[in-house]
């Protein structure tokens, strides 16, 4: 069982991360994974560069909490989350989520769940450079609704304290 979270400026090796999720664990039959990349357009504008700001200290904890919640909901054999910060260019990798399970159902669901929660709960903010100048990316309503389909959305988190 391997569970780990990294917040880093450096790029990552997707193939190595996926291989590590099943290495030495012959009970793993299914690894679902996701890679998020910087796109070269956003809201109709060309994007030449991006900077990811984050909240050091809180970021790791937020990701670990999300992973812990996924592990309560599904029987998993491994979870790996990597999120980059700092300057990035179109085509660059931003985030990796990999989930190892016995069967595909739980691996797919947990991977999508972690991404949906990460999108609404992990303290990262995108600032992009466009021909019209720099601008902060607006949160998408669709991300809020994606997180809510897991039945505990943002509001619940706020009230849970």
């Amino acid at each position: 069982m391997s569970v780990s979270v990294s917040v880093q400026e450096a790029d990552f090796d997707t193939g190595a991360e996926i291989a590590a999720l099943s290495a030495g664990q012959p009970e793993v039959g299914a690894v679902a994974s996701f890679v998020g990349l910087v796109r070269d357009t956003s809201e109709g504008s060309d994007v030449s560069a991006m900077t990811l700001e984050h909240y050091p200290g809180m970021t790791e904890q937020a990701l670990e909490d999300i992973v812990a919640e996924a592990m309560q909901r599904w029987t998993l054999h491994g979870v790996r989350v990597i999120h980059r910060f700092g300057p990035l260019l179109p085509g660059d990798q931003i985030v990796f989520v990999g989930v190892a399970g016995a069967h595909r159902g739980e691996s797919f669901e947990a991977c999508a769940f972690i991404m949906d929660y990460l999108k609404t709960r992990a303290p990262f903010w995108k600032h992009e450079e466009t021909p019209e100048g720099g601008r902060w990316v607006d949160a998408r309503e669709s991300d809020e609704s994606a997180a809510k389909r897991w039945s505990e959305g943002w509001d619940d988190i706020e009230q849970r304290r």
Binding site: Y55, M58, H83, K119, A122, W125, D138, A139, E158, R161
Partner: protein
């Protein structure tokens, strides 16, 4: 009561401050009250005002307006997150 307050992303730019050590008035007991107190500071600080889409963390946990403040807390205000 002393707390540390952090601001991120567009909110950091709007208020012109990344981090401050703040002596909170006695009547400010919650995150919501602190937000209202800061919003009243004037130019730039209205970005924390009513109707603005602001999130908050208390000691690095996402938290709501009713969360109670204690001396030494780390508070953060920021716009909805856009990572991933």
């Amino acid at each position: 009561m002393k707390v540390k307050v952090l601001y991120f992303a567009s909110l950091r730019e709007a208020v012109g401050c990344a981090s401050e050590d703040l002596d909170v008035p006695a009547e400010v007991h919650t995150l919501g009250a602190l937000r209202a107190f800061l919003a009243a500071r004037g130019e730039g600080w209205e970005a924390l005002g009513v109707g603005r889409n602001v999130r908050a963390a208390l000691n690095q946990q996402m938290s709501g307006a009713e969360a109670a403040l204690a001396a030494g807390d780390e508070v953060a205000f920021f716009p909805p997150v856009t990572g991933g």
